[in-house]
Symmetry: C2
Subunit: 314 residues, 2 copies
């Protein structure tokens, strides 16, 4: 049973759009957005690969990124923590410090939470944001012909995980870049709001499980196939892949938790959107492929199996 199959099985009990975050309407002129994510020690993070402060940061970043994917502005978060009774008070505070630092960077408040005992350290964050009704983006509105693009190069977080686990000799600067991407990923708040405000962006989601997996999700939700033509690879990911004699683009395709955004853009407007994006953010909105009628994902013409992260597969 894969994660997506399980999500499908519980769908009858929920009123979800299939996006990671959900919209609701607290008043006629406003839309709120909510999302939740759970991180478990030993599954989503391990203390030997990152300090607890960084685990806290990443838990908040993963949730904030789900709001970014809808074009929303983060407003607040709640935090439910489960941890062993024997945990040191300093460890709980370190975790909370990381959560709070990421919250401050994304300009949202942690407004409350819950503490519980658990064998494994468990962090469940829920975040709420706001978005103008006309700016809210889903993953399901892409159309055949749309250009697929990402907000930045991919694979740095995967390279950071590899370096934290096995070490690597790719030079100090690239190692630091990769470790930072892995431990302190930056949710694309401003980028998400900018792209959400564009009428030419038809669908958006964040890349949490790798482009190969997440492009398949966007394509499936939009009732399309996705053809990936090229993958922008972060310098650290390229260096690590080459050192390991792996294909850098495939390395980056399978790399989760970059938290870049994946968008579908109307083809005739793509150049315009990309120019405005580059002027605003001093980096490129990088074309990775197109949507077309059909189903599935291809890379350079060959059908691509999902290579990204799935909690329940295998």
């Amino acid at each position: 049973m894969t994660e997506d199959e399980l999500v499908e099985a519980i769908r009858p009990f929920t009123r979800g759009s299939g996006d990671d975050a959900a919209l609701w309407q607290p008043s006629r002129s406003h839309r709120s957005v909510i999302s939740t994510d759970m991180l478990v020690e030993g599954v989503d993070f391990t203390r030997n690969l990152m300090p607890l402060e960084d685990a806290g940061w990443r838990a908040m970043a993963a949730n904030v990124s789900d709001l970014c994917a809808m074009g929303a502005r983060p407003v607040l978060a709640t935090v439910a923590l489960g941890f062993p009774k024997e945990i040191a008070r300093e460890d709980v505070l370190a975790l909370y410090r990381g959560l709070a630092e990421c919250a401050a960077a994304a300009k949202l408040d942690i407004v409350g939470g819950d503490l519980s005992c658990a064998r494994d350290l468990t962090i469940a964050v829920a975040v709420v944001g706001e978005v103008r009704p006309s700016d809210a983006k889903l993953r399901s509105e892409g159309r055949p012909g749309d250009v697929l693009a990402v907000t930045g190069p991919l694979g740095a977080a995967r390279a950071g995980l590899g370096i934290a686990r096995d070490g690597a000799a790719i030079g100090e600067d690239l190692e630091l870049e990769a470790l930072r991407a892995f431990r302190r990923p930056r949710p694309r708040v401003a980028e998400g709001r900018f792209l959400g405000a564009s009428r030419n962006v038809t669908a958006m989601m964040d890349l949490s499980d790798g482009l190969s997996t997440d492009a398949a999700r966007l394509a499936l939700a939009s009732g399309c196939a996705a053809d990936i033509e090229s993958v922008p690879v972060a310098p650290a990911a390229r260096a690590l892949a080459e050192r390991r004699k792996e294909d850098p683009q495939r390395f980056a395709l399978a790399g989760g938790e970059d938290f870049e955004l994946l968008v579908a853009v109307r083809p005739r407007a793509f150049a315009h959107v990309a120019t405005r994006y580059a002027a605003r953010f001093k980096r490129d909105l990088q074309r990775v492929g197109t949507l077309r009628t059909g189903s599935g994902v291809s890379f350079n013409g060959a059908r691509l199996d999902r290579s990204g992260w799935d909690h329940f597969a295998g």
Copy 2:
């Protein structure tokens, strides 16, 4: 380190009122409320004491009850689930069915969530509700002289836990009543909204950890002492306590998860509020004591140590 001490230690990282739920303002005329709670198998529930459907119900009920305590109407929930890879698909669905049944009873939608691997089955729910600004109640606004009252008799859930664990011969009807209170507790949605709308109710919270513990929290937040004079005891709790040769009121004082509401009411208005409550709900708003200047909690004149549930004590 107790749970309350830990909550105090992480307070600098948060913007919380000390209530279980937090208020925010999505637009000028609206207030939204959010709350989160985490339940962990082996700590908050065990499968040998209740089916997973009931565990799901209780997880949702605990969260909804936090909204009730603020006078809010529940609107939506997100659910983050962590569970072992080997779990049966039917078990996940049973858990979700219980969550969804309680959500339907409280008239809210489950709008999304997250699935994660974990050694222990872990349920983290976040609920959002709405409340008119003038109806929102905190636990911190009680005043010396206010009458303390509860929305119904206490101890039934504790009796149900005892019966599920050890059995008891208190008669089939009382056993069923106690087991239902334990496995399918009913959050006081209508009662909370009714009391929230009363200007004479100064403070409100839900009884999740037992009156002795929660009255101490309300008193501390309000800068008062609480004198408990009498405790309304649910029939099943009285029968079980007597069978065990325990004092029924002390049994009920320490009984958590009844999810009745505890309110502070202006003394001259109490009779009026109680009369209207009884007319509306066909049950009594039961006086349990008063707030006064000072600190701590007494029961029948003797200082009461906390006897309720604390995740991290001892």
